[in-house]
Subunit: 369 residues, 4 copies
């Protein structure tokens, strides 16, 4: 069954392999009348582009977004928005070894187990280049959110043992360092740690955090399409993510109710409005947004492509030793930041559309004008 | 948009409120020819039933499953299987306070924000009784899995500060103690901790683990409907779950690639077969099952209903102090065990059906016989 | 894959067999705040109930609707509305012959071919009693439409050779005669024709028409979820329907463009509003409602259960002669009227919800208040 | 809600406007291992290409299919197959009149009513060029069917008053004449009729028939996703289709049960196999294929673009007289033939995949090998 589509109303259909002709997305269900141009998408793609600094693979791809449909005179028309990014720098590498070997930590074996064979060039469909389509969808979703006063931003919270310090948190720093950390000092420490990893022919994991501000209360659908449940699917579906936390996340397991409950309080500045005094819940209650910030974290595993010889098997089931060639990022985390931000934006946009059906008074407001 | 359905091919449609006439599920897409009777479902429902021991709410509900359709002469017919559980012991409690107050940690406020009003009796749709429908679906899914040699089981890994000890792991213990822990000693310690919590008018969180054994390699759909992504949605959608981990989970963030990669190796006992020497990945690679055990953990928040006075607001936005009455479990974890097990079973059954479409040779095998 | 659900946003999940414990529907996605009670549903069910007159099967079923969930204090809550109708008068008939024979014109053979066996009691899932679930869904959909000033009504246009006369059209007659014809004289002629059919141990086909008034322009989703396309699926899915026409239907094949095009004109009574001078298109252009009446017709095949001996085979593939026993309606058409009306109502309600996502200005209208 | 996707398991996502950069489709859910190349798709596209003869618009488009993903070494990989067709000959016509006028019989008005504005260049999304995406999907579906021994073919049954003669039926003729009629003589008569229409500045409707041979019994999902119901949606969604008939279609309304029932009989050449002696039902019973040919007909309205002055309104609601310029086909029918054939192929391929989930024994056959 398919599997390459995310969203119920704001639907992002994705396609493309690492070394095929192109990757892209078709966004169906974007409301008409949203201002949109290629540059809106390009600036998100540029954030995930390889070769931007010493931490990321030097594959030189322009990754230029081209809109094929769904936009007319600068605005979305309500019809599908197809966006493609051509693969321009696929080197005709020698894939003879990788074609018959199962790299540890990669999907080579499972794709073969599923489909009987695989497009082995650069990982094919399971390559990180697949996330281009997620970023295209997220860029459009973010435009919708922005027009409603909602902002989503992600950042690197930790790389290996190096975590950001809450007291030094500086949102403006996020795009200023190769680690995408909102903490200048931590970013330097993380870079040093990564250099060590590279010297050891090793790689590092880390944590990405994502914050959504301004989401109105009431978003998310009980029982299975809860805001947190769909965020979990969205983010866990990103390659290398092994855990998703909402609010206090794993820490709730050791908390007591009196510690974990967030008290509601009146809003002194806005009579009748309700706020929470704390936000352990991370912005959702019963899977529905409660008007406070939505807070999500994802654990990213270390890059599986390391340059040490590794024990593995070939496609005949024979034991071999594999030494991966080429060059690979020592950490996935910084480039995952924009991807996770985009998946959260898509999820929120989709649920905002869903919620339009939640009350008879909304129908009346639209149809009885 | 809907939201009460889980699954693409094996679809579980759910309904019901805590104090309505009945709760239940309609399972559409269950293959024909599966032996099924009410007892198959009942034994799962009995595991989540309240009033079984001193740790769970004394609400006395029989929670009897009644199959209304889709089964004929002891086998599923391929048509929808409707199963209902009547609510028999709703006390006509006094809801006048709760109807106008927003309990901290509950969905009272968010339901009002979404729908404009709510069925406030016992939490309505956001009640833990909603999980009856999940258990019904899971019981049927487990029958499918079982017939293919796949087993799924969940257990309590920790309650507050008390964790099970891997060396004392005894699967047979899981259903033998009120904490559903596979470790007798830890179960006693956890009970003692919970008594303390109750004396403090407080509650505790914990962790549920779920293991799937025997799932063949190749299950899960790239890109968004990955096995781990759908498990994350399935489990995060359970009330009170705040984090989902696959394999090493959050710990991968601090690991290096050489620590985290699982080596493949030939299987000495079975030429041509492939095994992994470790299982940090928790049974998935690229979101597709790799033939090793699928390992998932979920963090469960402490029961939000505690008996201390709590600061909150009423539906007019005025500050009030609320003291919750009635009796409530000091911990959600043990009763969540069967629910999480069921959500994992549903997810696996659904993806096993999806995978039937993955290869032309499967079509040929079925249609050219 | 499932198959028992209709609708994308207003979803009707159906279940039940002719001789099982109950039939019913779970409606997920109905907006909150719609006034709804069992009587709203019952009055639609009463229109399809058997045993109402000499043209319909004398099986005495009360067909009482019971709402299990989703309604609180007389209004929908936004959560799934489960409605069941118990089967009360299943006679423990002798099914030994029908269990092994394939009745011509019935689904006995195709269910066996699909599932390997079938619930043969009274047709099981393929029985006309399945339409109870459609009527439940339609009754709720009609309440939504009504609240927006949209009305849907269906009637019998012809039975065998007897058609209604446009000049005698009287909407009030529809529910006044057993044929559900809006033409008293035609109804008498049709009844006489049906008596003849019964004397000949035969049965008759006919045509049902359905009109939707007040649907605003702009409803329907290009390309595949067009209003006319989803109406076609909805209505063709009703057992015994063999053709669906929109507007002039089959007649367009012989028309010329100058005959078939509907001219637009200004509306003298309402400046800026647009009307069509004719309605050959039946209320849709490009699959989107154009503000004029939606007009649909469905051809219904003759009841396949006739009392003549028929040549057929048994489940071993041996030729046999089968004489169907029991009593069966000589015509399906009048009882199909409410079913087709309900399918049209469901389709319209679903697309009205879909359309809420069509424009950014609708999001702004709802979220920026 | 979206609307540009058809199919549940074999999903065809479509995009593109008449005068945008490109049109195309992303096919998700195609099983791995199907031999596929661009030429497989091109030969279907060539059948719908404009400018092939004097009956079709002289717009010169190469309509070259380019596969962007999902195929590796000549076989499908199981991942999404993206195919694009660039628009190469969009003339920068003068759209100033059409931009503000509502052409009778076109979707100009309804798109404006839905979205608030429209891409008016050449009809935008509502252009007949949209069917390119359907043909791409159908070409791939037909390859699947072919590999299972199933063939689908469509043809023109009538144009205006000219119908094919069953006695002269010659399948090989279909692609030999501009009318796509399987009857040489009728094709000549139809061409003459169309010349007349053109001289009268008028256009003609007609009927397309489609036959599916070799579909095994058991395909189609009760209740709503019946084979005939999904075919009805698939075909009614094609622009200009106003009616869909299965088997005897509208004629069943005047038939009696004894005329309309198809007798089953043993198959003298194949013991245990079952055949039908007639095929009034058009290959489905209870919405499930019965092993005989599936027969469908669609009525196509006359081309709405005629060259006579027509009364209509502009987008301010003012009455105007519009004379359509450019050149337009006097009949849509011949070019609709391949489109309808493709929609039927997609529907059948999708339901064949669905049916793999219908029986436990199929799961066992695949997973217990």
């Amino acid at each position: 069954m398919a599997g390459s589509t995310f969203g119920n109303l704001f639907r992002v259909h994705t396609f493309g392999e690492s070394h095929g002709a192109a990757l892209g997305a078709v966004i169906d269900g974007c409301p008409a009348g949203l201002p949109l141009c290629e540059e809106d998408i390009q600036k998100y793609l540029d954030r995930r582009k390889p070769g931007q600094n010493k931490l990321s693979t030097p594959r030189k791809e322009d990754d230029r977004a081209k809109i094929l449909s769904g936009v007319f005179e600068g605005k979305t028309t309500g019809t599908p928005i197809a966006v493609v990014v051509e693969n321009t720098s696929q080197r005709s590498a020698d894939y003879s070894e990788i074609a018959v070997s199962y790299r540890p930590g990669h999907a080579d074996y499972t794709f073969d187990a599923k489909y009987g064979f695989r497009d082995y060039r650069g990982g094919g469909r399971s390559s990180g280049r697949e996330t281009i389509a997620r970023v295209i969808g997220g860029a459009v979703a973010a435009k919708i959110l922005e027009s409603l006063g909602i902002s989503v931003y992600a950042y690197t919270q930790s790389i290996g043992p190096v975590s950001i310090d809450a007291e030094r948190f500086d949102k403006d720093q996020i795009l200023q360092n190769p680690c995408n950390m909102p903490d200048k000092e931590a970013a330097v420490a993380a870079e040093n740690y990564l250099k060590e990893c590279m010297e050891n022919k090793d790689s590092s994991g880390g944590v990405v955090a994502c914050i959504m501000e301004g989401l109105p209360a009431g978003i998310g659908e009980p029982v299975f399409d809860k805001l947190d449940a769909l965020l979990a699917q969205a983010v866990m579906s990103v390659g290398a993510v092994k855990a998703v936390e909402i609010g206090d996340g794993m820490a709730v397991a050791k908390a007591t109710g009196s510690q974990n409950n967030d008290s509601f309080a009146s809003d002194p500045g806005d009579a009748g409005r309700i706020r929470k005094l704390t936000n352990h819940s991370g912005g959702t209650l019963g899977g529905i947004s409660d008007g406070s910030n939505v807070i999500l974290r994802a654990a990213i595993k270390p890059t599986p492509s390391i340059f040490r010889p590794q024990n593995t098997v070939n496609d005949k089931g024979e034991d071999i030793t594999l030494t991966i060639k080429g060059r690979h990022d020592p950490v996935i985390v910084p480039r995952a930041v924009v991807v996770i931000e985009c998946m959260c934006a898509i999820t929120a946009a989709d649920l905002l559309l869903s919620n339009l059906s939640s009350r008879m008074e909304y129908l009346t407001a639209i149809y009885k004008r």
